[in-house]
């Protein structure tokens, strides 16, 4: 937009931007002045929760990429009505309130669920385990990655792949050397969203996996618990800052991987 000085179209966006930065600044300032971050850094519960959160979110991302990339590719390259329907269905977890997602998971994978009931006959119970945390995170966060990957695969020019095949490259080599560099920014962006969403998940994990320190109490649950305890808002903010800083550092590292290193830019 050609700059035209101060008017509604420049002031409102600036105000909107300030709206987003103020709470984060408030959080950091509160932590510095009224928080007890040092005490929380020494707390066993905080470290357990941080470790659990990072491990589960990363495993969730790993599964989302491993299983979601082929799915997104299939959906993007087939043109049937079925594929469009499935693509829309995959967006549903985005619309469901997280608590509802948790309840939905319980109805199927819970101990008395439709599939869970069968699983518990053979001694496998999913609910209230660390695996349940990952499943809940996967359900709510994977759609972000799949959408982004789907967008990337739809937008790319598939003729390059055709050319690679005619030149004799195998499917896997084609995917690795031709397709991937073309869609890398989309995949990386989706991966960051997916990981961040998984890290922040609260409602679905609380319902499906419960909250037990050390096993299923993720950082968001630990922060909520601190908020409601006598530690109050000071305790919650202190733990929250640890999460924010850790997530920020890890996202910086993820972004490093996200910059395209292939020949095609």
């Amino acid at each position: 937009m050609i700059s035209s000085g101060w008017n509604w179209w420049t002031i409102l966006p600036v105000l909107f931007g300030i709206f987003f930065t103020l709470p984060l600044i408030g959080l950091i300032w509160f932590a510095i002045t009224d928080g007890n971050v040092a005490a929380e850094l020494g707390s066993r519960t905080t470290w357990d929760a941080l470790q659990l959160s990072i491990v589960t979110a990363t495993l969730t991302l790993f599964l989302a990429v491993l299983l979601g990339t082929p799915l997104a590719y299939l959906l993007a390259t087939s043109n049937t009505g079925w594929s469009r329907l499935v693509a829309t269905l995959l967006d549903l977890p985005l619309v469901l309130p997280p608590v509802v997602s948790g309840i939905a998971l319980l109805t199927v994978f819970g101990r008395t669920g439709y599939l869970g009931g069968l699983l518990s006959e053979v001694g496998v119970t999913l609910s209230f385990t660390t695996a349940a945390v990952i499943l809940a995170q996967l359900f709510v966060a994977a759609p972000y990655y799949i959408r982004a990957a789907y967008g990337g695969f739809t937008a790319m020019d598939h003729r390059f792949e055709g050319i690679a095949y005619t030149l004799g490259l195998s499917r896997w080599k084609t995917f690795r050397n031709v397709t991937l560099p073309l869609v890398w920014p989309a995949l990386a962006g989706g991966a960051v969203l997916c990981w961040a969403r998984a890290l922040g998940e609260l409602g679905a994990t609380l319902l499906f996996a419960g909250s037990l320190p050390g096993r299923t109490q993720t950082m968001p649950l630990a922060i909520l618990s601190a908020f409601e305890s006598t530690a109050g808002i000071a305790g919650a903010v202190s733990i929250a800052i640890i999460l924010v800083v850790s997530a920020f550092l890890l996202m910086v590292i993820l972004h490093r991987f996200a910059t395209p290193s292939g020949a095609y830019r």
Binding site: N7, W8, W9, L12, L106, G110, R111, T112, S127, F128, L206, G210, S211, L212, P213, T216, L224, S225, F227, E228, S229, T230, G232, I233
Partner: protein, 252 residues
């Protein structure tokens, strides 16, 4: 976009934003009560019996874990009356100078809730391998009460039962829901919670620990709230408390 249209767009935006602000202002003559989630079946019945005159204020009740509600009051929620599931949360508000008046209301006993067709008969059954238990988190009144019960058991029983705990939830109705949907085999909840539902029965705990439900009138509450508070804490409601599974405490 020319000057006239951008001014119009700005005016519409301002109008929408101000509607947002107006919508968030609450009516002045509403009395807001914060009540523990375990009181969901008792308080509406008590309020129904409150003699209301023509210009009586509206009464609004918000339920939650007592510890959550206490935090919100500390942070400035404009509540007039706080009905907590234990005295600790009221002590907490008192130490911040937020309590004008306080009264014990009733007591609630901790029980073990199991499905009607469960084979569990007493607390020792909870030590078995593979049993799944749900309890409240340590800061929730029902969770704190559960910890007191655990602490008074002998060590090996305490250890075995603790190993079977799969979740420490932030409010008692969530704990109850776990056993209602069959995800856990037993849950430590209040007797009043078991009475409120049809599909569960209560196993008594042979240890005498109870939570004392305490009502608090918050500073800056309007005069009409003080009258309502006096009514809620009066003995005339004892039969309602008893009917719902609570035990009444005679006033000091």
């Amino acid at each position: 976009m020319d000057g006239r249209r951008s001014r119009a767009a700005g005016a519409v935006t301002l109008l929408l934003l101000s509607l947002l602000l107006v919508g968030s202002c609450s009516a002045d003559d509403t009395i807001q009560i914060f009540a523990a989630s375990s009181l969901q079946d008792v308080i509406p019945k008590i309020i129904d019996g409150y003699p209301k005159t023509g210009d009586a204020p509206k009464i609004e009740i918000v339920y939650g874990g007592s510890q959550t509600l206490a935090t919100q009051i500390e942070l400035g929620a404009a509540t007039a009356i706080f009905l907590s599931a234990n005295s600790i949360q009221v002590d907490r508000l008192e130490s911040h100078g937020l309590v004008k008046e306080r009264m014990p209301l009733a007591t609630n006993r901790l029980v073990i809730a199991v499905p009607n067709d469960s084979s569990l008969a007493d607390i020792t059954g909870l030590t078995a391998d593979g049993i799944r238990l749900a309890i409240g988190a340590v800061d929730v009144p029902v969770g704190a009460l559960t910890q007191r019960v655990f602490a008074s058991l002998d060590e090996s029983m305490q250890l075995q039962i603790r190993q079977n705990v799969v979740t420490e939830d932030p409010n008692v109705r969530l704990v109850l829901s776990r056993v209602q949907i069959g995800e856990v085999d037993a849950a430590f909840v209040y007797r009043s919670d078991v009475i409120a539902v049809d599909d569960l029965r209560a196993i008594e705990i042979p240890i005498d620990v109870q939570n004392i439900y305490t009502g608090a009138l918050i500073k800056k509450a309007p005069v009409s709230a003080a009258e309502l508070f006096a009514f809620i804490s009066s003995e005339v409601n004892s039969s309602i408390w008893n009917e719902k599974g609570f035990e009444t405490v005679s006033s000091q």
